[in-house]
């Protein structure tokens, strides 16, 4: 390197064995060093992190099921579980009000919170990789508003009021969310790039228009129905019931499986369009698939829980700082943490002014908004 003249005559003689010039550690040495320093994701780290998060999730769900307007003791929970497991029947009226509240109200609500939070975090991770931007979030970009408009329209038309039509509600949300996503992409794109400020600006404008349309729908509804719609819009997990839970489980399970399958592709997409294409990815097709999946799961989640903001941005960001960017781990870990985040937020929402409740969307926005501002103001280097 001391000699700066680069000419063919200065070429080192091609040799068959590089180890003469550079010591090459054995594969084993190199592997153990990379594993030790966390230079790459290993199967062991993947398993440890996810097992740990899964155990903590179970703990959080069990703990948060006890809090609410009516306190449910751990003994009641165990009694219900023993009763259900031994008799195989969901009729727990013999166990008193605490048992009924736990099984019919509290448990479906907490499980729904976990699913919704996990799905929103997974959507956030996917959108961030697709838009190559750590601030992307379905709520901020207006995808949630689009889904909410779709679902509001469906409710105005009376869809989703019966169990038979329940699975249709997410589809309306999906169409609304997808249209919003296409619009935002068109609005923010300039010369093949998606600058962060035009993305956020497009999101603000789209959100304003969509919110106005939703307000219009609520204003032409009968007052008693519109009040319910408003509460839902602010983000609420109130009493979803098991049929709605089952519908969401199916949507979330399907989308999660496909997203996990695409984890490696998401990794490569973060490296930029040109790199992704030169690595053999048909980026146009993959991006369309991923946008459709994102809209589908957002539609499903919004149709049951309304607009719960910032989970999709705060959670992936925090998880990425702790475990790195490899989507094979980031995606499931963010989903688990997102689930826990929403379960805890919802517990705060229903206990802080008990017996009155506040919409959980307010809690997540108050927790996530300042974090978003912090990133926007002080971490500009992270968002280009």
């Amino acid at each position: 390197m001391a000699n700066g003249h680069v000419t063919p005559s200065h070429l080192p003689a091609p040799s068959g064995d590089l180890s003469t010039t550079t010591p090459v550690p054995s594969l084993h040495e190199m592997k153990s060093q990379w594993h030790r320093t966390g230079a790459m994701l290993t199967r062991r780290r993947w398993g440890l992190v996810l097992t740990g998060l899964l155990l903590v999730s179970v703990g959080v769900i069990a703990l948060c099921s006890q809090f609410g307007a009516v306190s449910v003791q751990l003994a009641d929970v165990l009694a219900v579980l023993r009763h259900v497991l031994t008799t195989g029947s969901l009729d727990v009226s013999s166990l008193g009000t605490a048992g009924v509240i736990f099984l019919q109200v509290r448990l479906p609500r907490v499980l729904m919170g976990f699913l919704v939070g996990g799905a929103l975090a997974a959507v956030g991770v996917t959108l961030q990789a697709l838009l190559r931007n750590p601030l992307a979030d379905p709520y901020v970009l207006g995808v949630s508003s689009g889904a909410a408009l779709g679902a509001s329209l469906a409710m105005l038309l009376g869809i989703g009021t019966t169990v038979m039509l329940l699975p249709l509600l997410p589809l309306f949300g999906f169409i609304g969310g997808l249209l919003a996503l296409v619009l935002i992409y068109r609005l923010a794109q300039s010369q093949g790039r998606l600058p962060i400020y035009s993305l956020l600006l497009a999101g603000v404008i789209l959100n304003a228009i969509l919110t106005a349309l939703i307000m219009f729908i609520t204003s032409i509804m009968e007052p008693n129905r519109s009040a319910g719609l408003m509460a839902w819009l602010m983000g609420s997990l109130t009493a979803p019931g098991y049929p709605a839970l089952a519908v969401i489980v199916i949507y979330v399970a399907f989308v999660s499986a496909v997203l996990m399958h695409k984890a490696q592709v998401l990794n490569v997409l973060t490296q930029g369009e040109e790199t992704a294409r030169s690595l053999g990815i048909d980026t146009e097709r993959v991006k369309k698939q991923l946008y459709a999946l994102t809209a589908l799961i957002t539609g499903a989640v919004v149709s049951v829980s309304g607009m719960i903001g910032f989970v999709g941005m705060v959670v992936p960001h925090a998880v990425r700082m702790m475990i790195g960017s490899d989507h094979r781990l980031l995606l499931p870990a963010s989903a688990l943490v997102g689930g826990m985040f929403l379960v805890v937020s919802d517990t705060i929402a229903r206990t802080i002014f008990a017996p009155a409740e506040i919409p959980v969307g307010i809690v997540t926005a108050l927790a996530g908004g300042p974090f978003f501002l912090y990133l926007l103001l002080w971490r500009k280097d992270r968002m280009i």
Binding site: M1, K31, N133, A257, H261, K262, S278, R328, I384
Partner: protein, 290 residues
Amino acid sequence: MPTPTGTCAIPQSCSTGSVIDVEGLSFRYRSDQSGRPWTLDAVSFAVSSGEVLGIVGPNGSGKSSLLKLLAGILRPNHGRIQIAGLPISQLEPPVLARLVALVPQEFAQVFPFTVAETVLMGRFPHRRTGWWNLGMGDESETDLLVAHCAMVDTDVVALADRLVSDLSGGERQRVMIARALAQEPTILLLDEPMAFLDINHQIDICELIRRLNGERALTVVMVSHDLNVASQLCDRLVMLKEGRVCQTGTPAETIREDVLRTVYGCDVVVDAHPHTGLPRVTMPSVSGRL
């Protein structure tokens, strides 16, 4: 191919002959508003195996577009490109990715990936994923070994656990080259690899490119706006002007005062490099000084 002993075996030199054949290539962007009919107009040239070819020309002459066409990122409107004797349009993207690797122009790294993770992404076209492993696609021993060899060759082994976003420009460029090498390509495409680098890092990258060309028998095609770098580094140059090939040949044949006057529309001084004798371009005396 790597051998499991831990040493980096060197691929045998391909049979001589051209590995890239470009014939009558025309291309334009759909959104082009420059008023020029073609971004690239009837471009023809060939790259022989083991050659270092430079694509030079003024800004907007179509250099980067030509490189993207060679990488299969853009599709030509007319003409054909053959890679290793096969039309590029008939090569499946993953197959092409195992033949041709691209080091794109520098862009900001947004997500905190480590150097090792970034280099391992170069193994993507070689990796088999599917429903059976939920797309997890664990790194195989071969993936690790190839990535490691690429990192040894580019001298970034010591950076394995650092975040790419924390590296200096020169280090980051070496990591990007390592990722391209992990694809085990026969052709390496580089888009302005020395732009924004200090002179010491420029020398580093030049020596690296030459070493890879010699040791791995890599064919290198690089775009550069710096005529002096191109002159010192490349075996042959293709000089573009407004999307057309203006001159092809060795640096001595292409970097001449009369050629540069027609291509760049200004007078420059071309003399010989004191050590290599290769052409060297400098500004004429700036008027107003002395």
